[in-house]
């Protein structure tokens, strides 16, 4: 019985997925129609034939996607997917699971879009490691919410305060992130009595990004995000001015 239920849920989801894919295929087929197919001027070359067109393969792909999406739609309707598609139970809506994945999604979005480009990498990664571990270790909903609010606030603050790339080296968002990180770390340590694993979180949160960013910048000599960040700027200065001359000279 369980197996049948799971299949029905999947078919209801397939219904929506196929509808979305039909829309996406049609949109991209329309975009493909902007690429000249029958003659016309292509990249400065006129009078060429249909088989030279840059639209041929995309037409085949999006046409194929449209056909397969229609087949999937038919399969889902025949299996009762359309009937279940409008009810939460039908598509297997699980509130706890949606909360869990959305909080993680929000944190990742805030980290990648708001924090990484603007805030010192050690600070923002330390905050994210602390938040993700604290939020999801043990499965406490309230902790996940607090962790998500902390990271989202830091990301949103950085994004709103310094939207232009020219301002990304400013340190206001670094300080906000640092304060939130300290706040979360204190929370983690306050719960670390009964949950021993949490004792190691501050060390991991500091050491992992510190080692990674230093290895990348000084070991592999690669570009790292937010070079002018609060902490990394100091590390880079002392590496080149204080440390490196010790073995270079």
């Amino acid at each position: 019985m369980d197996k049948i239920d799971e299949t029905q849920v999947m078919r209801a989801r397939d219904f929506w997925a196929s509808v979305v894919m039909i829309a996406v295929s049609l949109f991209f087929l329309w975009k493909t129609s902007e690429i000249p197919l029958w003659g016309g001027n292509r990249a400065g070359v006129t009078g060429t034939d249909w088989y030279n067109s840059a639209a041929i393969v995309p037409l085949f792909i999006f046409g194929g996607l449209l056909v397969l999406s229609l087949v999937l739609l038919v399969i889902s309707i025949r299996s009762g997917g359309a009937q279940n598609a409008l009810s939460g139970v039908g598509i297997g809506w699980d509130r706890a699971e949606v909360f869990r994945s959305s909080t993680i999604g929000l944190m990742l979005l805030a980290y990648v879009v708001g924090l990484v480009p603007r805030v010192d990498f050690i600070l923002c990664s330390g905050l994210v490691i602390t938040a993700l571990t604290f939020g999801f270790y043990g499965g406490y909903t309230q902790r996940a919410l607090i962790a998500c609010l902390a990271v989202t606030f830091a990301g949103l603050f950085a994004f709103v305060s310094f939207p232009a790339q020219a301002d990304w080296n400013a340190h206001g968002d670094d300080w906000v992130t640092l304060i939130l990180w300290i706040f979360l770390t204190l929370l983690v340590l306050s719960k670390a009595g009964p949950e021993r694993v949490l004792r190691y979180v501050p060390f991991i949160a500091i050491l992992a990004p510190l080692i990674l960013v230093c290895a990348m910048a000084f070991g592999f000599r690669q570009n790292v995000p937010a070079r002018g960040g609060l902490i990394f700027k100091q590390i880079e200065y002392h590496y080149y001015v204080t440390l490196r001359p010790l073995w270079k000279d």
Binding site: R42, V57, L72, I104, L132, G135, A208, P209, M216
Partner: protein
């Protein structure tokens, strides 16, 4: 015979030059250790290990060291998956799913040490079988592949995507094909390869160069894994390891035919484009169950059952590299990540690949499997301790690793946006049981398919018979059509009727 000796001589000199370099050992030990750790931690996979290391070592160190790091991690991760399978009844990687069926009952019966020792030995022998097959067959195929022209390449790329979609689909096969087409569609973004005409760039200059491979790999493999794995899981009880790990020669000799057969099956499955170690493990397990005298004991703690899957998944590595090196078509998802590393090093796998690289790959695989063997036998207890680390502790670190790795390859923040976007799509696809491997293979092979398909039409003045007038192309076209038609309900009914009649 001369051909085989010349191959062995070439392999020998590659091996000597690698062993003479002290840095080889540093990269080898570190990467195999990291690989076994990734494999042993449920929630991390071999593909993720190779993908993350591609971000780190892909284009930052000389190609030889980069290959050592990636292949070492690949070999280690496939083997590492056996630890949680045997001791926790949780497969560390999909490739070790069949291992748990017999590994855990054996550990429960107090034979965990023996199981782990034999698994380590079988994984080593399996990797060597796959590697030697790679050494011999890659050359024969390279000679044949010199005659492969654009029509064959286009049809082969399509076949790889379709086959991967067909075999990797957990639910409906059509979902695997849709995933492959989404991957192909993603590869259409940017300037087209023949006329440099911009496609689907929406005025964003970053998209002119198309989707970069590493952020796509990171997004497709790492982000869904992180979102899915960050949940509270009751820690399973790790069974105490009883008995000595070092296997005795008598048991190895007894199971050698099983190991040999599984090695050949694993290599064969690996050589199929786009089919990974998990399929190899299950196929070998299924064959073993049918042909073995103790087939009825499979699933209840049979050493033979354990060795069937563990030998095959490691042998699959060498097999998966055959289509990658000969045709530029990855044989498994980790091989797709490896192809990403080749690409960012400006090495184009395929008929024009430098033969020296193939010899080095073979030498590295042999050294990596030996390192894995020694580590497995003498440091197994270290990896068992690693099993106790909760997912919620190491996955946030993986997120940071993924971010900096993805950023450093292209050096731009746009790569991170791409990674996140692909990750979100891949997460929803996972949720709806769409396989991710065909998508990634589609992204990687899309450029090749576009270029060769259009070049074929261009050279034949738009004559479509170019896709069936050449013998190779005709065979591949029949294979593609056969694969599609075999999934139609009417064809399935005919197969069932024929099967019923023959039974």
């Amino acid at each position: 015979m001369d051909f085989i000796f010349s191959q062995l001589a070439g392999f020998g000199s590659a091996l000597v030059s690698l062993t003479a370099d002290p840095l080889t050992y540093l990269y080898l030990i570190a990467s195999v250790f990291l690989g076994i750790t990734f494999g042993a931690l449920p929630g991390l996979t071999a593909t993720l290990a190779v993908t993350i290391l591609t971000g780190f070592f892909g284009n930052k160190i000389p190609l030889d060291y980069s290959l050592i790091a990636l292949l070492g991690a690949y070999v280690g991760a496939i083997y590492g998956g056996s630890y949680p399978s045997i001791l926790l009844n949780i497969p560390g990687t999909a490739a070790s799913a069949a291992t748990a069926m017999d590994g855990y009952p054996l550990a429960k019966a107090g034979r965990g040490g023996e199981a782990l020792g034999l698994t380590t030995t079988a994984s080593f022998i399996g990797t060597v079988i796959g590697t030697l097959t790679l050494l011999i067959f890659v050359w024969a195929l390279l000679l044949v592949s010199k005659n492969i022209a654009s029509p064959e390449k286009a049809l082969l790329a399509l076949f790889g995507i379709l086959l991967s979609g067909t075999l990797m689909s957990e639910d409906l096969v059509i979902k695997g094909w849709i995933a492959g087409l989404i991957g192909l569609a993603m590869s259409m973004v940017g300037l087209d390869p023949l006329l440099s005409e911009p496609r689907y760039t929406f005025g964003w200059s970053y998209l002119l160069s198309g989707f970069q491979v590493v952020p796509v790999l990171m997004g497709a493999f790492a982000i869904p894994q992180i979102i899915d794995g960050l949940r509270h899981v009751e820690a399973g009880k790790i069974l105490a390891l009883k008995g000595r790990i070092l296997p005795n020669l008598r048991s190895i000799r007894r199971y050698l035919p099983t190991i040999g057969r599984s090695g050949v099956i694993g290599t064969g499955v690996g050589a199929l484009p786009g089919v990974g170690e998990d399929v190899a493990g299950w196929v070998s397990y299924g064959v073993g169950k049918t042909v073995s005298a103790e087939g009825d004991k499979f699933g209840r703690g049979s050493l033979e059952g354990l060795l069937c899957s563990e030998t095959a998944n490691n042998a699959c590595i060498g097999g998966a590299l055959i289509p990658l090196l000969v045709l530029g078509i990855p044989g498994s998802p980790p091989a797709a990540a490896l192809m990403g590393a080749f690409k960012i090093n400006n090495v184009i796998p395929g008929p024009t690949i430098d033969p020296e690289i193939i010899l080095r790959v073979v030498a590295i695989l042999v050294m990596a499997s030996l390192t894995m063997f020694l580590m497995g036998l003498f440091t197994a207890r270290v990896f068992i301790k690693i099993l106790a680390i909760p997912q919620t502790v190491f996955l946030p670190v993986v997120m940071v690793l993924t971010t900096i790795g993805s950023f450093s390859v292209g050096g731009g923040i746009n790569d991170l946006y791409l990674m996140l976007g692909v990750g979100a799509v891949a997460y929803f696809m996972n949720l709806m049981k769409y396989p991710i491997a065909p998508l990634v293979i589609g992204v990687i092979l899309g450029g090749l398919f576009d270029e060769t398909f259009r070049r074929s039409l261009f050279l034949s003045d738009g004559d479509l018979s170019v896709f069936f007038s050449r013998p190779g192309a005709a065979i591949l076209l029949v294979l593609n059509l056969g694969l599609i038609l075999s999934q139609l309900p009417a064809a399935k009914r005919v197969f069932l009727r024929l099967k019923g009649r023959s039974a």
